[in-house]
Point group: C2
Chain length 160, copies 2
DNA sequence: GATAATCGCTATGTTGCATAGCTTTTATAA
DNA sequence: TTATAAAAGCTATGCAACATAGCGATTATC
């Protein structure tokens, strides 16, 4: 059960500087933590059939009704190529409305439907439960710190 | 250019509790930060043709020569179904050796080849550069804090 | 008025990760 | 000891996130 007990096998372990070890890399730990969060989100929001991306879209449209599709892409860091089918899906499910812009005929203005507006509070509560679960080992203060540090990493990295 | 200037359009913005706003959610920020890191990693390690997953495999094998494939799966949180083709790729590229276990014929013991062992230091330096770049807005202390909090989130979540 | 940029979109490929199912081998229990 | 369960490694396959290339329509800019 323990390969270190095998003496026929491998050569000497390469001694690696502590800061170079895999588990000391923030990128690796980011990936692992994010994967766990993604997973837990999927479990909690399974009945609502919402994934992290679709929820993010709905949440932002809810917070900024009338937002343009292109602006939604920018805010969420998505390509419009990937946004388009997702918006179509949400529209078909009766959650998002696409209205033409009066001045600029290229633009679509997005808004939640009545049904989506009514459902959002419950979905937000579910997301809160999800966050409380996968962050249960962190204190309130630690969560605030984590939030600040994560924002520092990715915010305002593009030309915006 | 500013949809808030449009007065024909959307209804009132749903007022959302600050802690419920999308950008206050740690899961969302985790995903964004992780995506940025993944991207930066790909740029830095493009010439080495290493992705985060393959690098993680090599790094762990380097740190624990003779590790079994199943144990590598457990450590990296991967399914063996996904590990298998990656190991085959690394073997074909002459980076990983698979040796039979003396006592248990189901088991494969993994080790880096000479070539891989020789290349690892340079790759580790590249990863260090990558981390220094996408974490440039964080102090050393903040990086240590972030590392600790991320580990708290995902470590020892499974049955292990 | 010509050129460039923006917007929304389709098509398509890659990658990470999931499940289902299989064979071989070892561990455990009747 | 034999039957059953578990572990190891693998193939096949599907899905979701993300990327690029390119298109038509519209608007902005020179």
């Amino acid at each position: 059960m323990d390969e270190t007990r095998n003496r026929t096998g491998p050569g000497k372990a390469t001694r690696v500087a502590p800061e170079d070890r895999l588990d000391a890399q923030i990128g690796y730990n980011l990936r692992r933590a994010s994967a766990l969060a993604l997973n837990d989100f999927a479990v909690e929001l399974a009945d609502a059939a919402l994934r992290p991306v679709t929820y993010a879209m709905l949440a932002l449209i809810d917070e900024r009704p009338g937002i343009r599709a292109a602006e939604l892409c920018r805010q969420l860091g998505m390509k419009s190529a990937n946004m388009a089918p997702l918006l179509a899906e949400l529209e078909e499910r009766g959650l998002v409305e696409r209205d033409d812009h009066a001045q600029d005929r290229r633009v679509q203005m997005l808004a939640l439907t009545k049904a989506a507006k009514q459902a959002m509070p419950a979905w937000r509560r579910q997301v809160r439960r999800h966050e409380d679960r996968f962050l249960q080992r962190l204190t309130k203060k630690e969560r605030a710190t984590l939030l600040r540090l994560l924002r520092l990493i990715w915010s305002e990295d593009g030309p915006n």
